[in-house]
């Protein structure tokens, strides 16, 4: 009984704190647990399912909502509702940074217990004999030395302790294995013991003709911060013999070159890694801007602007520290008097600092046509038309769309219908459709044929009433409706929006190249309407659509750079909400 009180209290508290739309099924689930407890059955299994739910996927919440429907009928007391989050400029947009994290806030990480945690490295260097004693104590641990050294890395022990361990190994075996040396090297690098790194490097070089990438990476990292940074470049060449070096390898070399004012070399490496389709780490880019602050050079300036354009083209968003470096660099350019401000952009797309309108999110004619062609080819047809639909059905749908005037809004009927937990699905859909129909919009609703069979959820009269207000297309029960949604929206023209809360990531993944994927995401942000408030019978509200594109942009005299805040975890299908506005006085 105690658990009942605690959980109900928690549930209500969470309701009070986050008036979000998404987690509503989770509250239901809490209620469900309570009711289950009354019945005293399956308590355990229920809790496990709630823990193993994947946080980000709306389909999962969707699934949960169907799972607990039977309990909800009698147990439901509150309606899921949404309210804007005040810290965000657009009240809770599906695509703004951190939205997914907020949705999944209730999820807790499982606690991990490791067997090896029992071993703690000694605090002071031990003698050979003392080490042997310790070894005897941990007889059960195979590879005692490795485990111990790993623990030292974890606890960041003094390298003297590690040295004493190595002495023991050397006494016992007369040799130290490569693996142990590399681990010791990792410890030295972690503590930036350059002299030790050099020593180990010399030993390894002496003993082994070639190394493996793990050791190379460590050495590159260690050497690039020292006077012997040029040797790191040689090691980079060694890696290239067997595989493509990682972006961290390049990053370390670039930092080494920049520290020693070899700017041209750094840029050579930078372009080399771009040519290998490696996306540089943000701290590598930051090193460029930090160097640029001290060095005044026209060529360097154009290269740095090139980096900003690279960010734009690849839709990369700098983090907070990189943003600060960019800001400082701009402000340090002599004779140009740049000034940077941190801001958020209003929904109209106007920057409150410089009153300038940002780039529109709408695609131009050419981009739109590319996207349309690709969607039809790769998403709807794909490798096999039969997997999502049938040729007959596709043809039928094409004719249907051709023979009707362009629509203003295309609605994913089954998705919208499942938004509310209390209302029956058909009633929810009718509410939404009539709300939109009042605005004199031409609507198309996509559904599946089972909606016509007159099941309790889809009562015939309500479906018929909905059909008077909007056009309907019913796909086969075994077909997917999302591709039809995309096709109808794209076919109706650039003004047409679509209504669903699906993130459409599986369809985005069907697109072959990153350029089209970016186009798709841009189009999706500008055209996807998401229901944000739904109070049955009272209020229906949609999330405002952004009018501007979130991407690094310039007009020559201004730069607008969206960046990631340090504490906000942004998922890949979200965009940042904070901006750096730079303007020239």
């Amino acid at each position: 009984m105690a658990f009942f009180y605690v959980s109900s209290f928690l549930g209500l508290q969470t309701l009070g704190k986050y008036h979000l739309f998404w987690p509503a099924p989770r509250f239901q689930q809490l209620f469900a647990i309570i009711f289950r407890l009354h019945n005293r059955e399956h308590v355990k299994s229920f809790i496990t399912t709630s823990q193993s739910a994947v946080p980000v996927d709306p389909n999962t919440t969707h699934m949960l909502s169907t799972k607990t429907r039977s309990e909800r009928r009698d147990g439901e007391k509150r309606e899921g509702m949404a309210r804007g989050d005040t810290s965000s400029p657009h009240p809770f947009s599906l695509f703004s940074a951190g939205a997914a994290k907020r949705r999944s806030k209730n999820q807790e990480e499982p606690f991990m217990i490791s067997k090896r945690n029992g071993i703690q490295p000694p605090e002071k260097p031990l003698s050979v004999e003392e080490w042997e004693e310790l070894r005897e104590e941990f007889k059960a641990v195979s590879k005692f030395e490795y485990v111990m050294l790993e623990q030292m890395i974890k606890y960041n022990s003094s390298i003297d302790v590690a040295k004493s361990l190595l002495s023991m190994v050397a006494t016992r075996k007369g040799d130290i294995s490569y693996n142990l040396l590399v681990k010791y090297l990792a410890l030295c690098i972690k503590q930036e013991q350059l002299a030790e790194v050099f020593d180990v490097f010399d030993i390894i070089k002496l003993r082994f003709k070639t190394l493996e990438p793990g050791a190379y990476s460590l050495l590159i990292k260690g050497l690039s911060g020292s006077d012997r940074w040029r040797e790191a470049l040689l090691l980079l060449e060694e890696i290239k013999k067997v595989m493509t070096p990682s972006k961290a390898n390049y990053g370390d070399c670039i930092k080494g070159a920049l520290n020693n004012q070899e700017i041209n070399l750094a840029y050579e490496l930078y372009h080399e890694m771009l040519a290998k389709e490696l996306i540089p780490n943000l701290d590598t880019l930051q090193a460029f801007f930090d160097t640029g602050k001290c060095v005044k050079d026209d060529q360097l300036k154009s290269e740095l602007l090139g980096i900003l354009l690279y960010l734009r083209e690849n839709q990369i968003y700098p983090g907070e520290t990189l943003m600060q470096s960019i800001k400082l660099w701009f402000e340090s350019i002599p004779g140009e008097k740049w000034k940077g401000y941190i801001t958020t952009i209003t929904n109209s797309g106007k920057c409150p600092v410089c009153n300038q309108h940002l780039e529109t999110i709408h695609l131009n004619e050419e981009e739109y046509n590319i996207l349309k062609a690709k969607i039809i080819k790769d998403v709807i047809q794909g490798t096999d038309v039969f997997r999502k639909t049938t040729p007959q059905e596709l043809e039928e749908f094409r004719n249907f769309v051709e023979n009707h005037p362009p629509y203003d809004i295309v609605i994913d009927g089954l998705n919208v219908a499942k938004v509310s937990n209390r209302r029956s699905e058909s009633q929810t859909l009718l509410d939404v459709v009539s709300h939109l129909a009042q605005k004199n919009l031409r609507l198309l609703v996509l559904g599946r044929k089972h909606m016509l069979t007159g099941s309790p959820n889809w009562k015939r009269p309500i479906v018929a009433a909905t059909q008077k207000k909007a056009d309907f297309f019913f796909a086969e029960n075994v077909s997917e409706d999302d591709p039809f949604l995309l096709y109808a929206t794209l076919h109706s023209g650039n003004h047409c929006k679509f209504l669903t809360r699906d993130l459409l990531r599986d369809h985005k993944a069907c697109l072959p190249d990153s350029l089209t994927r970016h186009l798709f995401f841009k189009w999706q942000r500008g055209h996807q309407m998401v229901l944000s408030h739904y109070w049955p019978g009272k209020r229906i509200k949609f999330q405002p659509l952004p009018t501007y594109d979130t991407v690094v942009q310039t007009t020559g005299d201004t730069w607008h750079i969206p960046y990631d805040e340090q504490l906000v975890e942004r998922y890949s299908y979200e965009v940042p909400t904070k901006w750096l506005c730079l303007q020239r006085k």
């Binding site: 050397a170 693996n179 039969f386 069979t453 059909q467």
Partner: protein, 440 residues
């Protein structure tokens, strides 16, 4: 009494004094040694330009017989430096391709670094390794090879052990009971005779038995390894079928001659491939059998199998998809306008986790049991244990079914009869019905 006591105290005092003196005299020596060693070690960056090293014997002695007062922390470096260079690649000349040699060296170094790699690696495998584009894919491939090697070794060791045990047993029998044979009234039933019976049964099934089709049309959807796994599973399938009381007549349809699939079969079976009691054809199952008799079994089907029908021909898509490809076999069935069915897993099992697709050998064991007994409970025992919690009670199920009519999944088998019978024929009347509704 008192005098003795004081004498004792005196002795103790003396002892302590003596010990202190000794310690003081030893300490400076140790310190000296320490500084000497330090001097030796501050310079090492320069004195090793050449690879051959003339080592003074001091450091080695030093660390082995070092007193514990001051720890020698850097002695191991000298030990390491005195060692010879590791001979990594013994075949650097024989391998003309320098990148191949480099890859081999990489594998050796990974072994030293504790990565799980195989002990022997063939040239062909090395080439495959080189083609792996990323570090993690290389490591994964090596792990795969290493696992394979380990398994092979283990089974060989087991075989060896068994053979030795047998030899021992024979020897013992020779010693004990001289050469007298075991006396029994039963006739020895040779495994050869077993095989004969099995083959007769299968041959009979090939004439009179119920056909079961494996659709081999998924070759292009699988990677090399998946295809090999499929062949593996099919071999097992054939074995289960052969040993069954009432075997199926197996058909491998859509198997193109000289396709990689076919080649893999020939490679794995060897000569036995030609004697296999299975009908192999390049034709599609729709060409071989009447369409209305065919039922495609696929996990994505909306229709649930109710009973096993002995006059129907079931088709199983022979495919291994490690990354689950939803709707692939359903698409094939849709294209050919075949009836589809899925096993009633939800009905009889309380599903826990995992996808509802099954391996081919599990599938044949389920079907064979169904055919013999008609008992779903018995048949579905071949679904892997980890995937379900328990068998569900029949009475509970009927309640559950009525309770959750609104569930998205259920409607598909509650749907109108007409559609269940003819699920994919996008029939005229449904179109008309739709038009009528749109007209409303």
């Amino acid at each position: 009494m008192i005098t003795v006591w004081t004498h004792h105290l005196k002795m103790m005092f003396f002892n302590m004094l003596l010990r202190n003196i000794v310690r003081h005299s030893v300490f400076p020596v140790a310190m000296q040694k320490g500084t000497k060693k330090d001097l030796f070690l501050t310079t090492p960056q320069k004195p090793f330009p050449c690879r051959t090293l003339i080592l003074s014997p001091t450091p080695k002695k030093q660390f082995s017989s070092n007193p514990t007062e001051k720890l020698d922390l850097d002695g191991w470096k000298n030990v390491m430096k005195s060692g010879m260079q590791e001979e990594v690649s013994e075949t650097s000349e024989s391998e003309k391709d320098s990148t191949l040699a480099a890859t081999r060296e990489l594998v050796e170094m990974w072994r030293l670094a504790g990565v799980f790699v195989p002990e022997n690696i063939s040239e062909e495998e090395l080439k495959t390794l080189m083609e792996c584009s990323t570090k993690s894919s290389k490591k994964k491939y090596l792990k795969f090879l290493a696992c394979k090697e380990k398994l092979k070794k283990a089974s060989k060791a087991k075989q060896e052990k068994r053979r030795e045990a047998k030899m021992e047993r024979l020897e013992k029998a020779k010693e004990n009971g001289t050469s007298e044979m075991k006396n029994t009234f039963l006739l020895k039933f040779w495994s050869r005779s077993f095989d004969k019976v099995y083959n007769w049964r299968t041959a009979q099934a090939m004439i009179f038995g119920q056909p079961l089709v494996f659709d081999m049309a998924y070759e292009n959807y699988m990677s090399r390894r998946e295809m090999e796994n499929t062949v593996n599973q099919l071999m097992e399938t054939e074995g289960w079928n052969r040993r069954a009381v009432d075997p199926f007549h197996l058909h491998y349809c859509n198997l193109k001659v000289d396709s990689p699939y076919h080649k893999e079969f020939v490679k794995r079976y060897g000569e036995a491939w030609d004697n296999l009691l299975v009908t192999v054809t390049e034709q599609s199952h729709t060409d071989v059998f009447p369409r209305d008799k065919l039922i495609y079994l696929t996990a994505d089907s909306p229709n649930v199998m109710k009973t096993f029908e002995h006059d129907k021909i079931y088709i199983v898509g022979s495919m291994v998809d490690r990354s689950i490809q939803t709707g692939l076999s359903l698409a094939h069935a849709k294209r050919l306008k075949l009836t589809t069915q899925r096993l009633p897993l939800e009905r009889y099992l309380q599903w826990e986790m995992g996808a509802k697709n099954l391996t081919i050998d599990q599938m044949i064991r389920i079907l064979l049991t169904l055919k013999d007994t008609g008992d779903w409970m018995e048949a579905l025992k071949f679904v892997p244990k980890r995937k379900y919690k328990a068998f569900s009670d029949e009475s509970v199920y009927s309640k559950y079914k009525t309770n959750t009519q609104s569930r998205t999944k259920i409607f598909e088998f509650n749907g109108s009869q007409e559609r269940v019978k003819n699920p994919f024929a996008s029939s005229r009347n449904s179109l008309q019905r739709q038009k009528k509704l749109v007209g409303n």
